[in-house]
């Protein structure tokens, strides 16, 4: 009977119910879309820069991050002990060193990235960045270059680049390597200056056999903080530095924080509007029905039961609103996940200046929808406190005199 009363009351004032439901629908659609875009943008940046290239946690020889010279290299076997750490899924040693690349008359400073092809294939998606040619095979001399660099140097597949650099402890490093493939590292900055070669070739080039400048530590999914802490405890801090992506890319972390705060601010405004809109409904409902509630109490209906009817009404509307909202927003968010928004014009330039890919895919993380749904329900319940207090204080003789 309570349900019947609540249900019919909703249909009694159709227009107001529609306004209530649609304000909830709007809030859900707007909040979820916005949050999904934001999180999607972060995810994309993290995936491109951190996931594909940088890794969430890196170990270097102490001082390497500030002074990236080949002299700050360490013996790979010194990290072997970490293989027994249960928070670590993989250890990929890498060499990162500067060199001057030349082809015909063109010369450019580049970063030589030495990778263990087999291990990278197993553990990181860097292989997916290949857009032309072949990825590193175990013993090839071939190199991969960023698509930006290819343009700048005006080279083709099969051409060779000559590298010149300072090797270990002041030696001269030089070599000539054929271009086997072109990669797109998804950030214009990286694309302009990256050359990828086999780890052992890079070791030969720089004269550091069995050594590396850095190692990417694979954390268990989403738990890089744990991994970072665990390996920090194990490694000799006078020899190694352990850094996470936020330390290596403070700009990115800051950008995300600022953006997230901005989004939160917009959502607070949105939810304030929703709260007032719902509160208006509840207020009118309580005032309008004061007489009716008075009659109900007079003829023998307990206040607790009347409260249940009133709450059920708002909950049904909230539920319908949230469900409709989700039905509407899930396809939208899903669509833009698979067909991301491409920024164009000025926006594109600004974003790319920061070194980021100018597309925004949406995040499909269900926790976004859940959180927003939860907030809408909390607001509904909060707003209902007024009705509860109002009904609790009803005096039938007074309510019916009005």
């Amino acid at each position: 009977m309570i349900l019947k009363l609540a249900w019919r009351n909703i249909f009694r004032n159709k227009r107001r119910s529609i306004i209530t439901v649609s304000s909830i629908v709007f809030a859900v659609v707007f909040a979820v879309t916005m949050r999904s875009l934001q999180h999607g943008a972060y995810d994309n940046m993290l995936k491109n820069i951190v996931g594909n290239y940088l890794g969430y946690v890196q170990v270097h020889f102490k001082g390497f991050w500030n002074e990236k010279t080949i002299d700050n290299s360490f013996y790979i076997e010194d990290l072997d002990s970490l293989k027994n750490d249960p928070t670590v899924t993989f250890i990929n040693p890498r060499i990162e060193g500067f060199a001057l690349a030349s082809h015909k008359k063109e010369s450019k400073p580049v970063v030589i990235l030495g990778l263990d092809a087999k291990m990278e294939n197993q553990n990181t998606p860097i292989k997916e960045s290949l857009i032309n040619g072949e990825f590193l095979s175990d013993n090839s001399d071939g190199i991969l270059i960023g698509k930006g660099l290819q343009k700048i140097m005006n080279v083709q597949m099969g051409d060779s680049l000559v590298f010149l650099s300072q090797g270990y402890q002041g030696s001269i490093a030089s070599g000539i390597y054929p271009i086997n493939g072109i990669v797109d590292l998804k950030t214009p900055d990286l694309n302009r200056r990256t050359v990828i070669m086999n780890l052992n070739r890079a070791q030969d080039f720089f004269g550091i056999n069995h050594m590396a400048t850095s190692a990417i530590i694979g954390p268990k999914i989403d738990e890089w903080e744990k991994t970072e802490k665990s390996i920090k405890e194990q490694l000799d801090s006078s020899q190694f530095e352990v850094m996470n992506w936020q330390q290596m890319l403070p700009e990115l972390k800051q950008l995300i924080d600022v953006d997230r705060a901005g989004g939160t601010f917009v959502l607070i405004i949105l939810y304030s509007i929703l709260t007032f809109s719902l509160f208006g409904t509840v207020l009118m409902l309580a005032e309008e029905r004061n007489f009716e509630f008075g009659v109900l109490v007079a003829i023998g209906m307990r206040k607790s039961m009347i409260i249940r009817v009133a709450i059920l009404e708002t909950l049904i509307m909230a539920l319908v609103g949230v469900i409709l909202g989700l039905l509407l927003v899930i396809p939208i968010v899903t669509y833009f996940h698979f067909y991301p928004i491409n920024l164009s014009g000025q926006m594109q330039e600004v974003v790319e200046q920061f070194g980021f890919e100018a597309i925004i895919p949406t995040s499909l993380d269900p926790s976004i929808s859940l959180t927003q749904t939860f907030i809408v329900f909390m607001i509904t319940i909060l707003v209902n406190l007024y009705t509860i207090i109002k009904i609790k204080n009803i005096q039938p003789s007074k309510a019916m005199r009005a």
């Binding site: 009363l5 009659v295 003829i299 023998g300 307990r302 206040k303 003789s397 019916m400």
Partner: protein, 228 residues
Amino acid sequence: MISIQNIQKTYQSGDIKVQALQNINLTINKGEFTAIVGPSGSGKTTLLNIIGGLDSPTEGSIRINTTEITQLPENELIDFRLHHIGFVFQSYNLIPVLTAKENVEFLMLLQKQGDQFRNERTLKLLKAVGLEDQVNKKPNEMSGGQQQRVAVARALASKPSFVLADEPTANLDSKSSENLLDIMQQLNKVENTTFIFSTHDQRVIDKANRIITIEDGKVISDTHHSKD
């Protein structure tokens, strides 16, 4: 039996005190069909509200059968009303989203009566008030007189000890008023339910078998008409 002893009611609005009822003593016996009359502002509504436990007196006691209702906590008082008192108000007192049948059934549902009992009693009462062909209409699809007849049926549905009606005919034309009173009188006889109603309407007053007149919050006359 309703025993009203020494009832005083003072309203305080700001600094002004209004003595709405002064020293009311009355006994109303089972089966009476009693009218409370008096000019506007004399205290009729106040008295009926206090008898029905909708308002509390400043002083005095209301005893219904063996229960002193002025002492009951809120929920028990609400339950007491549900089981012992039927109400008919001046206007708009049906639940607007429920049909005539559902309105009459409503109190029996709150009383947790069984399906069959509810159905039979609802139809019987709607027939008694002459609305057997209107059972599925909502209040806003019925005339004022029809609504009041549903209200009377609802008031009786819970098998109360007595029915309180505050100016039940105030919004009705004279024909509907007479019709409503005839129905109330009939039910008063058939179900032996006590009726106490307030009114201005002389024709309604004539139907009562006891007339209590109040003025300025005091009972000034109390006459019994022994009817044929």
